[in-house]
Each structure stands twice: as structure tokens, then as C-alpha cells.
Amino acid sequence: MAKITIDDKVIEYSGNPNLIELAKENGIDIPHFCYHPALTISGNCRMCLVEVGTLCKNQQTGEYEKDDKGNIKVNFMPKPQPGCYQQVSDGMVIRTNSERIIEARKGVLEFTLANHPLDCPVCDQAGECVLQDYSFQYGFSRSQFIEKKRTYKKNEISPVLTQEMNRCIHCDRCARFTTEIAGESSFARTWRGNKMELSVLPGGTITHNYQGNMADICPVGALTITDFRFKSRVWFLNYGVTLCTSCGKGCSVMTSHKKGKVFRLKPVYNEKVNTYWMCDHGRLRYRFLNESRKSGHSAGGKKANFQSALSLAAEILKASKNIGVIASAKESLETCMVLSRFFREVAPTAHVDYRVDDAQVRDDRSLRPGELLRAKDPYPNSFGAREAGLLPGQGGATAIDILGAPEKFDAVVLFIDDHIIEAGDRLGNMSKAKNLIVLSPFESSLDSTAAVSFATRAYSETSGTYINIDGIRQKYCPVLPPLGDARDSWDILNQLSGLMGKSFGLDSIGKIRSHFKLGD
């Protein structure tokens, strides 16, 4: 196996690894701004400079030359080389922390900072700014730059992003992302030299659905997400990793939240699903987690405690012969399994369906045209719901049928999720339903007409599994505490099964997983 020495550490490697990645895998950080593993190499920031040496071989004998101490001599290249661009070869010796490199790095940082406004107190990037971190770690404590700093005219580049060109360090990640990943040529380097800008065409705008990633990969605060402007200092936020539920792709995301409110979503690296990215549609839909949330249950439009709501629901279901069930593919696979069993064994009915969207009806697992990640199906777990069997039985009504004429059923069990609320008119007929039982994390006008309305936990407040459009199963855990008395949907169903005399005994997610053989 080929070997390379980085800072006296001998590392074996195979293939043709990137030096920055190889070093990182071995616990050695080579600082960088413009390098990004998913983008082409630009080599412009000069932050990742390393010393590159090769072992000295005697031309005639082919033997390695040795010094007085018997160590093989190393020939270092006269100039430091960018680590991002350095081809690794067997026997190579790399120094990332020699005196020379430390000096070179300091020097590069001094230039990077020279025209940077240092407006960290009002910059949203502060706290997660690579320039800030590197300055602290590798930079001078004081700058000798006493000149007037360069400024740029402010440009509107899109509604999603705010550009502060004065902060830009010209690393070009954003432009490379736009052409290489988003496949759009709406953002690029223009002008020249110290007047060089990253910009849209005059009067133009960025239109792709992945702009938030440009802010994510911007190492400084030159591109920030307009929605998050001045909302919070990032160090006051808490973080949790979960999944995006805004389509069938199920990108891994991180919530940033404070006092129970979500402030933003960012993508989390997930090799199988979204790699480094997420779409703006999903990113900006975090808001539904904060708005019109339900913390308590009601019956007949009046507040009710959980037990009385449960009893009422059990009575309705016992008394109803003809029950329509509109499930939701925002619910976890675990809930779907319990739900499916409930309406087979406890309150049997053929009128069960999760498909409220056309893409679900068509079982469409494709992406929207021109999209990198966003699926046509707006639900994160349609395939979990399908696997759980939440489909109409023989002669059963579809979800669309039930939504169209809910009055035909003795009782209707309705899961209300953010998508069906957003879709607007779908629920228009539901006030006609007799004995409506609602399960939802959100308040809605149906709370007043429903016989029973349960407050359920949003996905960010619970655990579960989603199956995405590619059949990939992904678990998620709660990142926020539940609101008030909100319950997990599976919990409500499990308790109803007890009240209705056919107790499942599935009172934990673990029990559900093992009962339905869903793995741990």
C-alpha cells in the first residue's frame, strides 16, 4: 500500500485521495476557504498551503540518499503548495505545521482580512464564520492595514439571499456551487482584480431552489439567508439533527432553535440522500413548526383533558360501522403500522387511505423537473404509509373520496398535517363530517366542529422512521420537547386499542419497532 507522511505521521492510502480529505481522516486539519469536497478545485484562497517534499533518490544507484543520522533525505519544493490541489504520491512528505507554513498562513490571513470590514457584531455569520475561527487560531492579533477598506455598491441578488460584498473573500464557492451543483449560470465572478465581484447579471436574479446552500458554504457573512437576518446570535441557539419533511426525499437537516421555536434549518451531510445540500423550499418551511401549534385536546370545540377525549373517541369508533380514515404520510412508519393494525383489528374498516396528493396517488417517486433533491411527492413517508398498508381495502373509499363526501361516513378519522393545511381547499367539506376525530399538531377551524380533536406531536418532537422516495429508511429523534399535552399519534391509537378492549400493549417506540420487526 502507498504511504505518505503528514507531519511525521505515516499514513497509508489507496487510490488518488485529496490531500485535505486524507489529512482530515487522519486527524490533521489543513485550513481552507475555497476548497469544498463537492466542488471543483479552485485553489484561489491560498489558505491550505503546505510544504511538499519527496524522498531523495540517487539518480545512478536508485538508492535513497541518507543524511548523517541515516534518515532518508527529503527534497522540499521551493514554494508552498495548495493542499487542495496537491496530487498525493507514494513516499511524499507533507508538512502542515512547519514554521514556514505557519508564517505563510498568517500572511495569507492578513491579506484575507485586509479589506474585510470586521463587522462581526452585526454579521449573522459571527459564531460560525470560518474567517473568524481561523483568525483566532492562525492569525495576527493586530493588523498593520491602515488603509481605507474597499467597499462595494450593494446589490440585490435574490429574495432568499442577502449579499454583503464588502465581507466577501472571493473564494468563489458560491459561483462554483451555482454552476456545478445547481446547474444555473446566474452567479459568477465579474470585474477584475480588487474590484472583482461575485454577482448576478445587472438586473438579474438567482432563481434556483438551492440558494441557501450558497450561504451555508460561504465561509464568511458575504451571503446570508435573508430569512435569518438579525434573528438571533447563533451562539444562543440550540441544535438538533432530524429530517426535512417537506418532500419525499427526506434530507438530513439540523434545526437551530431557542425556547421551543425553530429559527432555521440547515442541511447535514448524508451520503445516501442529500450529501451536503437541501432545497430552499424545505429550508424555509421550518416556519410551520412554530405557527398555530396545538398544545391541548378538545371535544365538541371545547378544551378537554386527554382521558376524556380518548374515551369519547373510543365510544365514537365503537358505535360507528362505517369509518373513513384519512391518514398522513407525515406520520412515522411506526405510527402508520399501529394505525394500519388499529383499523384492521380494533375498528375494522376498508376506507383507509394516506394519499391526499396526486403524486401519492400515482405512486410517483421522481423528483420535480430540474430539481436536485426536491421530490414531486410532498410527503416524507408515503412509502412508509404504503408499506404499512394504509390503503383502501376491498370496496374501500380513497382519501380523495372521503374528503369529497365525508358525510357518507358514520365517523371520520382525519390526520391534519402542514401540507394539507397549505394545500388550502382540500378540507373544505370536512365540516360536514359526522363524528369527526382529528389528530393534528396544528390548530384548524375543524377543531370547533370535530367531535374530538387530539393534539399530536410534530415530527421534530418525536422519534420515528421515514422511508423516502428511493426506499431509504431513516430514523429521526426529537430535537424539541413536546408542546403541552400533545401526544404521539401511535400513543393515542395504542391507548384507544386498550379502551376498546383489544389492547396492543405497544406503549413505546421500541416495542412498536420490535413488534412490527422494523429493526432497532
Partner: protein
């Protein structure tokens, strides 16, 4: 207000196409020549020119704009009919280039980079024109005027004013 080549420009463009491979890479090579033809016709590179050149060369408008803004000879603003470009770099500067541009500015009543109100003249201070042996040099539109003196400059401006 859109831009399109005249027949003459289009014919030249079509001739130029033969100089490059017919694939997308070869077409991109035409961006700079196409901008030159546009500038000759239109005087400067505006948004319409950018769109037009992108269409001709199968490139994106932002690419064309990135190219136009990289090269200093593409005018990103309108210029006068006569573009006076004074070199003030080393040898021209040593031999009176600065005095010449000052003289031209005061005579025409404009600053460096400015255009006269009648749109007849624009004055640019430019970098080395590569004719240092005959310094000082003034490039008037495409033509070099070498060993320039105040007198020659005055008569040049007289000639161009009429």
C-alpha cells in the same frame, strides 16, 4: 431597445466562426471577437449586447458579462466619438504623458475618464500601450499617435472637433 448586428458585422462574425472548432468550446472562443464587433457597432457593451453575444456564441449572458468586465478595453459605459487614450506608464510618464493628458482634460473641460457634453471626446488614462520607444503615445480610437507633443495633440483635437 435591443441590439443586433448589421449585415457587415454579421458577415465578419461568420468569417470569424471559421477560425475556431465548431463545438461549444470553439463557439465560446467567439465571445471576445463578438464583443469587439459589437463595440465597434454600438460603442459600448450594454445589457442588450451581452444578451445578443450570448445568443450568438451559445454562452450564458453572465459569462459574457464576466468577460466584458474583465477586459479593460470593453467599454461598460458609453464613450465619445473620439476616444483619446493617454499612456502615462513608465516611459510615457517620464517623457510628458501626464502633462499631455492634463492638457487635453483642461482643453476639453473634462476629467480623466470623462466624456464631453457633445459626446465627441472621451479621455482615458491607460496602461502601457507597448510603444515606449516612441513615447509619449496617445491612442486615438484604434490608431497610435507616437512621439506626441502638445502641438500635435492640439492639432489632433482640432481635427477631431470639426
Amino acid at each position: 431597445m435591443s441590439f443586433a448586428y448589421t449585415d457587415v458585422s454579421m458577415k465578419e462574425f461568420q468569417e470569424l466562426q471559421k477560425n475556431f472548432p465548431g463545438d461549444a468550446k470553439g463557439k465560446m472562443s467567439l465571445v471576445i471577437p463578438a464583443l469587439w464587433l459589437s463595440q465597434r457597432q454600438n460603442g459600448w457593451i450594454n445589457g442588450d449586447v451581452v444578451e445578443y453575444v450570448a445568443g450568438l456564441t451559445g454562452t450564458e449572458p453572465l459569462h459574457v458579462w464576466g468577460v466584458a468586465t474583465f477586459y479593460s478595453m470593453f467599454n461598460k459605459e458609453p464613450v465619445g466619438k473620439t476616444l483619446l487614450q493617454f499612456c502615462t506608464n513608465i516611459s510615457c510618464g517620464l517623457l510628458g504623458g501626464n502633462e499631455l493628458i492634463q492638457h487635453a482634460c483642461s482643453r476639453l473641460g473634462i476629467e480623466k475618464g470623462g466624456t464631453t457634453q457633445d459626446k465627441k471626446f472621451t479621455i482615458f488614462e491607460v496602461e502601457c500601450l507597448g510603444a515606449c520607444g516612441t513615447a509619449p503615445v496617445v491612442q486615438v480610437n484604434d490608431t497610435y499617435h507616437e512621439n506626441m507633443t502638445m502641438e500635435k495633440l492640439d492639432s489632433l483635437i482640432d481635427q477631431m472637433s470639426s
